[in-house]
Amino acid sequence: MKIGVCVKSTPDTAITRFKYTSGNDGIDAAQVKFTVNPYDEFAVEEAARMKEAHGGEVVAVTVGDAGAGKVLRETLAVGVDRGVHVDAVNTDSLATARLLAAVARSEGFGVLFCGKVAVDDQASAVPAMVAELLGWPHVSVVTAFSTDGATFTASRAVGGGVEEVVTGALPVVITAERGLNEPRYQKLKDIMAAKKKVVGVVTPESLGVSAADLAPVVTFSAYADPPERPKGRVIPGDAAEAARELVRLLRDEAKVL
């Protein structure tokens, strides 16, 4: 079985300091170090484990510019066999979903793993759209997954300590939550082996997706920082007096007591 996994190149939030483009209509990508979306790493690991258990081929797919293709290569050292880089601009979630669905169809994936959210736009929109476009079931925010090659069982934490278990038949789109697995350590041997692996570059046209299909239905008009937090207040005086004043402020002013 071909096991698909969607990978997005997102800013490395640990080291990135964001700057907006001059028109405030986007992020200045030149200032950003990109890496694999952290939740996609769980998706990659789950795909690799499924292959190790059942055989097959793990194919990672990304949509984006050459930089995204480079980030996709990082997954080749941690269990992915082959990459497909759709060379296109990420205009909005639906356009991206159309491209990913087209790849899933042409590759004939039996299952598609994604991260539950991309840490850049936090939209959580694409996987559900892909499932809808493919006519597949979709289970989101999955913390445990198993399959016998024909059917699957997926668990998701639905809050309040309650676990929901979903079963069904493949194919399915699964989105990975933290805790689904522990992504593997990268081995030098695998990094070297990854150099021989292939990332195929395809275009929207070659996938049969037209420019009209990719016309954005959502446009991003402006980016701005959240409003600055008001300055903290220091209450002077001795402890008993300050505590009294604090309680008064919390009750009368902040109205939280």
């Binding site: 990082e74 593997r184 350590y185 990268q186 081995k187 041997k189 990094i191 070297m192």
Partner: protein
């Protein structure tokens, strides 16, 4: 002046777990305030202990009566010209790095305590760390210092400034080994005040150099045994010395024995291995060239590529660093739980003596964990006694190891310094000329022996007679 014993109590210990005593605490905000305190102390014969972040393992920050001068309120970064940072002594190394990182640069010394220690502390102890294999200790990065002398005089020492003619010169035989044991054979006035453990002056501001950030790949090589790890370290060191920007030119070479790896088995891909090396390879030739060369080296020494954990991004490197730093942290946890003292070595030896030292470390009479800076022949043997009897045995063994290290041309302390805990051994092992000349310099700069009294050495004559 703060006299509240509850406040002072927070300043009486460092990572050595010695507990000092003091009558008063000062938290000056300017060098002139520091000077006024020292002038008065010198006049009244009051001992003064400078205090930074108290991360030293040697007791050098534990006062023996008198006053404490904490630099915690002098933590301004004063200037940055793209290379040299001017900062007050109380600034944290982490704050310094945060500023530099914004400019794509970093401060090369990386003591284990860098998240909590201060620039002044790093200078006073000539701090080093894993990366000192490549970058050396703090001394190399100091350009200038503002120092308040024990007499209350303020001086600004710049690199190349001659040492005043009437300051006795420290007599110290040249050594090929990284050492933090005693005063340096200073080449200029700056050198005098780096690594003096707060005994010759209080640094209030420093100008330190930085380097451009270089991307690195981290490799954690699991080896079947010590021999393979040592062979790999030797080969990597030879390569790095031959060509500092070659395909194999690590900036640190860290060693872990089987016991150390067992402590961190949840943080690495391997539950067990005979030994391991951790190296950071700066990427100066393209990642592939470095990885290929290291792979050849791994094969050549009898490890296998499947045994090499590789980190090519920040996440992976953070995981490796977390594993590395967990070793000493978990050793300490274990000892604290058992209520027993930590007995850890800080010895370093010349290349030729390392193999014999390894044998000696591995023959320890009590359970132990061995790890550290193999590139500098500087391992930390942590002895883990299980009983009071074993504590005595461990101490005796540590002494024998120290004697063997010194005998082979090594040092009692490669990075932690002498402080209070090792001064008796320093007295025993240091060359007599070094002790005599060091005391002469101390006497000249600090006639009342007020500053960090009892750190590094005592006055030659009993304290009462020395006045």
């Amino acid at each position: 002046m703060e006299r509240d014993p509850d406040v002072i109590a927070g300043y009486l210990t460092d990572a050595s777990n010695l507990r000092g005593r003091a009558e008063a605490l000062f938290r000056p905000t300017t060098a002139h305030e520091v000077a006024a305190i020292l002038r008065r102390a010198q006049a009244d014969g009051v001992p003064v202990t400078p205090s930074a972040a108290r991360t030293a393992t040697t007791g050098s920050a534990c006062p023996d009566g008198g006053w404490i001068v904490s630099l915690e309120r002098m933590r301004a970064i004063v200037g940055f010209d793209g290379d040299v940072v001017a900062a007050q002594a109380g600034v944290g190394l982490a704050d310094l790095d945060a500023l530099l990182e914004g400019h794509g640069r970093f401060f090369p010394p990386d003591p284990t305590s860098w998240r909590s220690c201060t620039l002044g502390g790093a200078i006073a102890t000539d701090a080093s760390g894993a990366r000192s294999f490549r970058y050396g200790a703090t001394r190399r990065w100091v350009e200038a210092l503002d120092v308040v002398l024990p007499t209350g005089d303020l001086i600004r020492a710049r690199r190349g400034d001659p040492i005043p003619a009437d300051w006795p010169r420290v007599q110290r035989p040249p050594s090929a080994v990284k050492s933090a044991a005693g005063y340096a054979a200073a080449a200029d006035c700056v050198d005098v005040f780096v690594g003096q453990e707060g005994t010759l002056g209080i640094v209030t501001q420093a100008w330190v150099r930085s380097l451009p950030v270089v991307p690195v790949v981290g490799l954690f090589v699991f080896c079947p045994d010590r021999g393979v790890a040592a062979a790999m370290s030797d080969a990597a060191r030879r390569a790095a010395r031959a060509d500092a920007s070659g395909a194999v030119s690590p900036r640190c070479i860290e060693y872990f024995d089987r016991a150390a790896l067992a402590l961190i088995s949840d943080l690495t891909p391997r539950a067990a291995a005979g030994a391991a090396l951790f190296v950071e390879q700066p990427i100066v030739r393209g990642l592939d060239a470095h990885l290929g060369a290291w792979l050849e080296l791994v094969d050549a020494v009898g490890a296998t590529a499947d045994d090499v954990w590789a980190a090519t991004d920040r996440d992976g490197l953070d995981r490796m660093h977390a594993a590395r730093h967990a070793v000493p942290a978990r050793v300490n946890e274990r000892l604290v739980r058992a209520g027993l003292p930590k007995i850890g070595t800080d010895l370093a030896v010349p290349d030729a003596a390392m193999s014999r030292m390894f044998d000696a470390y591995e023959a320890a009479p009590v359970p132990s964990v061995l790890f550290g800076h193999l590139g500098d022949n500087h391992l930390h043997l942590n002895l883990l006694p299980r009983s009071v009897d074993e504590v005595a045995a461990a101490r005796a063994y540590h002494h024998a190891l120290a004697a063997a290290a010194i005998d082979s041309g090594g040092t009692l302390s490669a990075e932690h310094g002498i402080g209070r805990v090792k001064k008796a051994w320093f007295e025993e092992f240091a060359p007599p000329d070094l002790l005599v000349s060091s005391r002469a310099l101390k006497q000249r700069l600090d006639p009342g022996w007020i500053l960090s009294r009892g750190v590094m050495f005592d006055a030659a004559t009993p304290r009462g007679a020395a006045g």
